[in-house]
């Protein structure tokens, strides 16, 4: 009996392994370009037979959920043959969920996904080439921010595989009341690193009794200022045109030194006390008036409106050393290649609808978001607000953090090293040199194992 069982067990195991292997391939069977499973769009918009598609996004609460529920209803009404099964998963869960689903071949038909990492999906044929659709329907790609369109193209041939939904941009927020209090002109925010430092020193308030901080002028580790953003304002390029890392430049070291100097004005003890204290506010320390100047994304405006609507603040470009620069991240929409022409066609209709100027305007109103559609974001109605104008003006300088497939995680490593320099376990120069070495190793190791 025992022997007989094993007779079955071994082929059984083989079957299991093979199914495993197949499901691995099944999801990705399509190599090469575009919709090879679906051979390009139909010559006209789908009509007649009912198609059911699924759509995953991040909007699972609040006004954005309400808006998306409503938009999907409107879309279904306008397209009676398309039924949309949509679900919001939240900003932190969608990425993991989508990555696993795409690997397993169980992804939705239309997906919202982070702006990074598109090339991998294009190369693997996981997402559908939108170029034929765009050409068929004559979609004007000038209506989107050009920078967003650029990173959504396939490297090499320039076909668009995704369209931008929403993005963000980092700006300097400053507290006008605090400016007046220390005798600074509230209409003249700092524009250079030097000004930022001298303003910050004036605005910082120490408590004589506790030796702790009552207010911080400016601290780079606060808010949403990441090291690379600062480095860019000093003319740093982290990679050359061939994709080789060029981190160890004098400009980058200078930026790291400045970051460490600014951060260490407060000392670890007082700063961590400040952080715990302001952390208990439940919202950003700038909103609570505990920080006078802070680099954050445009989304901080909503937080201010929700928690401290009376806060008197201004918005300015990030102070620079050499050239204007700032950092954006965001989300795009993409059609998952589920090898079903009808579904891909229907998903395109929804994608086109959601990224259209009219809908994107409503998106902006509901979520205060910087939408990917330039015409919507810079609508004259919205541009009446000077702060909003400052925000959208930054889109001409903004950059995306390069994440070459071979060097994924390099930015996190550089951040870690700069923080080690802040903690004093290495010098800023060592931090940058180490980052260069680590990025080189990352690429070398990736190349050897791919």
């Amino acid at each position: 009996m025992k022997i007989r069982l094993f007779k079955y067990l071994i082929p059984g195991m083989a079957v299991v392994l093979m199914t495993g292997a197949c499901s691995g391939n099944g999801a990705n069977g399509v190599n090469g370009n575009a919709a090879s499973g679906s051979s390009g769009p139909n010559s006209q918009a789908p009509a007649g037979k009912e198609v059911k598609i699924s759509f995953w996004h991040i909007y699972n609460t609040g006004p954005m959920k309400e808006l998306y529920d409503k938009l999907i209803d409107e879309f279904e009404e306008a397209h009676p043959n398309i039924k949309v099964d949509h679900a919001g998963y939240g900003i932190f869960d969608l990425g993991d969920k989508l990555a696993t689903a795409l690997a397993g071949g169980t992804g939705p038909d239309l997906a919202m996904d982070g702006i990074d990492g598109g090339q991998l999906k294009i190369k693997a044929g996981t997402i559908v080439n939108l170029q034929p659709y765009i050409e068929r329907d004559g979609v004007d790609t000038n209506q989107y921010f050009p920078l967003l369109i650029d990173i959504m193209k396939q490297e090499g041939n320039g076909d668009l595989y995704r369209l931008p939904l929403e993005t963000d941009v980092r700006v300097l927020f400053y507290n006008k009341e605090a400016f007046r209090e220390v005798g600074l002109d509230p209409e003249k925010p700092p524009t250079t690193w030097e000004e930022l430092e001298s303003y910050s020193d004036k605005l910082t308030k120490w408590n004589d009794k506790t030796k702790l901080l009552d207010r911080i002028g400016f601290a780079p580790n606060l808010g949403n200022f990441w090291y690379w953003t600062l480095a860019w304002t000093n003319g740093v390029d982290f990679f050359d045109d061939q994709g080789n890392p060029t981190l160890d430049t004098p400009e980058n070291i200078e930026a790291a030194e400045w970051w460490v100097k600014m951060q260490n004005k407060y000392g670890t003890k007082a700063f961590s006390a400040f952080q715990s204290q302001s952390g208990s506010l439940g919202f950003d320390p700038f909103v609570g008036g505990k920080v006078a100047m802070e680099v954050s994304t445009n989304n901080l405006v909503s937080e201010i409106k929700a928690n401290q609507p009376d806060l008197e603040y201004g918005i300015a470009p990030i102070p620079i050393k050499k050239n204007n620069a700032t950092w954006s991240a965001g989300f795009s929409l993409e059609i998952v290649n589920n090898k079903d022409q009808a579904k891909a066609d229907a998903a395109w209709e929804l994608l086109k609808f959601l990224t259209s100027t009219e809908i994107q305007k409503r998106h902006h109103i509901a979520g205060n978001a910087l939408v990917g559609n330039r015409l919507a974001a810079t609508d004259p109605e919205f541009m009446k607000d000077p702060d909003w104008k400052t925000v959208t003006d930054q889109m001409q300088f903004t950059r995306f953090l390069e994440t070459p497939i071979e060097a994924q995680g390099w930015g996190g490593q550089m951040w870690k090293n700069v923080q080690a320099a802040v903690a004093g376990s290495m010098t800023p120069e060592q931090a940058i040199k180490t980052s260069q070495k680590e990025t080189e190793d990352l690429i070398a190791n990736y190349k050897k194992t791919s």
Binding site: V16, A124, G125, Q419, T449
Partner: protein, 313 residues
């Protein structure tokens, strides 16, 4: 009819018994086949598939590409972060496992006293192991807060300036080890069962012979508890090597990679960098390491684990 029954030849009878036995066996297999199916499909299959993946380059979207032992070679010879994460994990195992054993045994002995309200205390000490890991992690983030956490404010009352705990490169690992001891209640319960399995008469007899409490502990309690300690040691090792949740939730590997444990680095490679083949190779290296440690413990166990009733020295 009855006669016919009696006249059945011995050969036929044994054949019938065989048939019965076979049927019984078949039933047995039928009953456990759901488990077997689940095991093959959801455990053995993926495990073996990951062995295959460890020899490939696999970005989860394109098909895996065979690259031989390259993943292993790069991991072992060129990846500094790999060694750093291994060091962090070994550090954690070396301190948290023995400390967990010692404190678990001591606590179990305390909880084995016959004092009023002991059931209450047993519940209190066991309670942390019932709480979900993420909740525990969040709770400890509050406790360990450098300025306003309960631990440092208490220390400050005694004039001690507490460290930065999770924010301090030197203290982040000890913080997590300290935190792991809070969950010692799970093993305490097992020790308690072990303690209660020790026959009373051994203590009575030794007392008659003049043994004190200390001697009783070393000569009776500890030897008779060794099978339980052995079990907890193995489980502790397995758990220790896989430590993940604390650093994932509380520190994300920081500050400066000081709590980047092996499993967290593996997770990052698999799900953040989409290097599934590389991560699979890491998983198999971890398996081999854990296997070696467990084998060493198993080998030495003959020398220190005492099974009552077994032929033992």
């Amino acid at each position: 009819m009855e006669q016919a029954e009696i006249k059945v030849s011995p050969a036929k009878r044994s054949e019938r018994r065989n048939r019965l036995a076979r049927r019984e066996a078949l039933n047995g297999y039928a009953f456990f086949s759901p488990w077997l199916f689940g095991f093959l499909v959801f455990t053995a299959g993926p495990v073996l598939y990951s062995l295959y993946l460890s020899f490939t380059s696999y970005d989860t979207l394109s098909s895996p590409k065979w690259i031989g032992i390259m993943n292993y070679k790069v991991l072992l010879t060129q990846d500094a972060t790999f060694w750093k994460s291994l060091y962090n994990t070994l550090y954690y195992v070396v301190f948290s496992v023995p400390l967990g054993l010692i404190i678990g045994v001591l606590l179990a002995m305390l909880m084995n006293q016959k004092v009023p309200g002991i059931r209450f205390f047993r519940t209190v000490f066991y309670l942390p192991s019932v709480v979900s890991g993420v909740a525990v992690a969040l709770l400890w983030m509050w406790l360990l807060d450098p300025s306003f956490g309960l631990i440092n404010t208490t220390l400050a009352k005694f004039g001690i300036q507490g460290p930065g705990w999770l924010t301090d490169v030197d203290w982040s690992k000890p913080s997590l080890i300290l935190m792991s001891l809070w969950g010692v209640g799970g093993s305490m319960i097992i020790y308690l069962a072990g303690l209660q399995g020790i026959p009373r008469d051994l203590y009575e007899a030794s007392r008659v012979d003049g043994a004190g409490a200390v001697r009783q502990f070393w000569r009776i309690t500890l030897p008779l508890l060794t099978p339980t300690i052995f079990y907890n040691l193995i489980m502790g090792l397995l758990g220790g090597f896989q430590v993940f949740l604390q650093s994932f939730v509380m520190t994300n590997g920081g500050p400066v990679d000081s709590t980047l444990f092996y499993a967290l680095y593996l997770y990052n490679k698999a799900f953040k960098s989409s290097q599934m083949g590389y991560a699979s190779a890491m998983a198999w290296i971890l398996l081999v390491l854990t296997l070696i440690c467990t084998l060493i413990v198993l080998r030495t166990s003959k020398k220190w684990v005492y099974y009552e009733g077994a032929e033992n020295k």
